[in-house]
């Protein structure tokens, strides 16, 4: 039997062959273990190459200036310098608003002892659509509704501490500038009634939490990819006895945001469907430890999965998903 040459397997995995060639190869693969092993080895080589080349990226946000501005530019270096300054300022401003929203929510929680944890919040929106689709003049967080009272208070305090400038946390600066425009998170505010209704788990509230708080809430179920700074964590409570659904946003080299989503199968799939039709891709879902919940009919098992999403090739996301650890 003639085995499939290595370069053909590369071309097959690169989707560079015609349909008839693919059928021929798949037919052979179905009956040849050696070639299947060869294909798997080459797939691993491809993944690794992608991951290695992924490291060779400028360590800054790559944001294209508006095309119209580009056409008018005069001096290249002077234009770039002005453009980068604008990107920086936009990031700082967006971060100020995002920090205020996040801090406002935290303060409201901390200051109000009667506050019900499952009451409606809009804090998740702080991480929602700061838009990378970077046409400039971006009003990056225009669509973020700011919680009225606490936000104003905190902006004032922040300004008092730092002069006229609101100084955001560095992680939020990144998050607010580069999180995908097509957010996974529903933008509508949840109601406390829906949050308490165990039959509508998809309507439970999303909360922006600190890493420490996320560790407490998610226990061992917090997904994390080594070597990339965490720019945001979102948590949605699960049904009683189940771990929450968690989204951990981390910054990949070059500024792209990678989101690791860990939760019950149905929930994660539902989130992934939200991004269909966008340029955000997802890794193959991988199994994570299930939840075991005592119920009237005995112990019930809920399967859970992890998927990594971002504006990267699926191969790269698969490689990242394999390297993700569950904390």
């Amino acid at each position: 039997m003639r085995h499939i040459p290595e370069d053909e397997l590369h071309a097959y995995l690169d989707q560079a062959l015609s349909r008839s060639q693919c059928v021929e190869i798949e037919t052979h693969l179905a009956e040849c273990g050696a070639c299947r092993d060869g294909r798997d080895a080459i797939a691993a080589v491809r993944d690794r190459t992608t991951a290695l080349l992924g490291a060779l990226t400028p360590r800054r946000l790559i944001v294209p200036p508006p095309l119209a501005l580009l056409a008018e530019r005069k001096g290249r270096s002077a234009f770039r310098a002005r453009w980068q300054e604008r990107v920086k300022r936009a990031g700082l401003w967006a971060a100020g608003v995002a920090a205020a929203v996040g801090a406002g929510w935290v303060a409201r929680t901390a200051l109000d002892p009667h506050r019900n944890q499952s009451a409606p919040v809009t804090a998740s929106l702080a991480l929602t659509p700061a838009t990378v689709e970077p046409r400039l003049d971006l009003p990056p967080v225009q669509s973020i509704p700011i919680p009225p009272q606490p936000t104003r208070t905190l902006v004032a305090r922040s300004a008092a501490r730092h002069g006229d400038e609101v100084v955001p946390a560095p992680s939020l600066q990144l998050a607010s500038l580069v999180l995908p425009a097509h957010s996974l998170i529903p933008t509508e505010t949840s109601t406390s009634a829906a949050a308490e209704d165990s039959h509508s788990p998809f309507e439970r509230i999303w909360r922006v939490v600190s890493w420490e708080e996320a560790l407490q809430l998610a226990g061992s179920g917090l997904p994390y990819i080594e070597g990339m700074p965490v720019v945001g964590v979102l948590v949605q409570p699960g049904a009683p006895g189940e771990r929450p659904t968690v989204i951990v946003a981390q910054q990949y080299v070059g500024g792209d945001i990678i989101q690791s989503i860990e939760g019950p199968v149905g929930k994660v799939n539902e989130l992934l469907q939200r991004q269909s039709g966008t340029d955000i891709h997802a890794s193959e879902p991988a199994r994570t430890p299930p939840d075991y919940v005592d119920g009237p009919a005995g112990v019930h098992r809920t399967l859970r999965i992890l998927a990594v999403t971002g504006r990267l090739a699926v191969d790269s996301l698969n490689a990242l998903a394999r390297s993700a650890t569950i904390r």
Binding site: E8, P58, R59, I62, L70, F79, P170, G254
Partner: protein, 184 residues
């Protein structure tokens, strides 16, 4: 006459829209492609913008392949100019990798720099053609587009890629091993 003018304007607008879409989706890829050739983030952005300015003037029929071909030419010119100025190209193994912005954690930064230098060094061990094909593939170009740009036959792209991938990983593993040996 008026109709013709209107028609040509309409056609022009559509092509500009296509170009703008391509610009928004491929700008970062072009910057990365250039950065991997000239190792200077500022110049990579300058040149990427230059590429798209030229694309707006030329309105090429196959814009995606065209912008990478122009980017490769600009990177080549840049390398020649750098040699003329007697600057060391960072493609040489021993040169430090220029980094444009500091990163938050010193430990992360050191680890990142080491990895970057190793991948960088591994890439530099490839032949120019292997490196070009690998970078074009990683930028999202199809086999026919890579073939058109490099002068290879379409059938040879897979062979070249197979060799380039294998050599990149071998060279990287070798450097990583040497790095560990040097630390211990």
């Amino acid at each position: 006459m008026i109709g013709k003018v209107g028609q040509s304007r309409a056609t022009k607008r559509v092509r500009m829209d296509d170009l703008e879409r391509l610009y928004n989706t491929h700008y970062a890829a072009v910057v990365r492609f250039l950065y991997r050739k000239i190792w200077d983030a500022d110049r990579a952005e300058d040149l990427a913008q230059e590429v798209f300015i030229r694309a707006m003037a030329h309105r090429p029929e196959k814009p995606r392949a065209w912008i990478f071909a122009v980017a490769a030419n600009l990177a080549r010119d840049e390398a020649r100019a750098a040699i003329r100025r007697k600057k060391h190209l960072t493609l040489l193994k021993d040169d430090p990798v220029p980094l444009s912005t500091p990163e938050p954690s010193a430990e992360d930064s050191v680890e990142h720099d080491e990895r970057l230098a190793q991948v960088h060094g591994a890439l530099a061990t490839l032949t120019e053609r292997d490196r070009e094909v690998l970078l074009l593939w990683d930028s999202g170009l199809s086999y026919p587009e890579i073939a058109a740009q490099t002068g290879l036959a379409v059938g040879a792209v897979g062979t070249t890629l197979a060799r380039a991938r294998k050599r990149l990983i071998e060279a990287y593993d070798r450097m990583e091993y040497q790095g560990h040996a040097a630390h211990s």
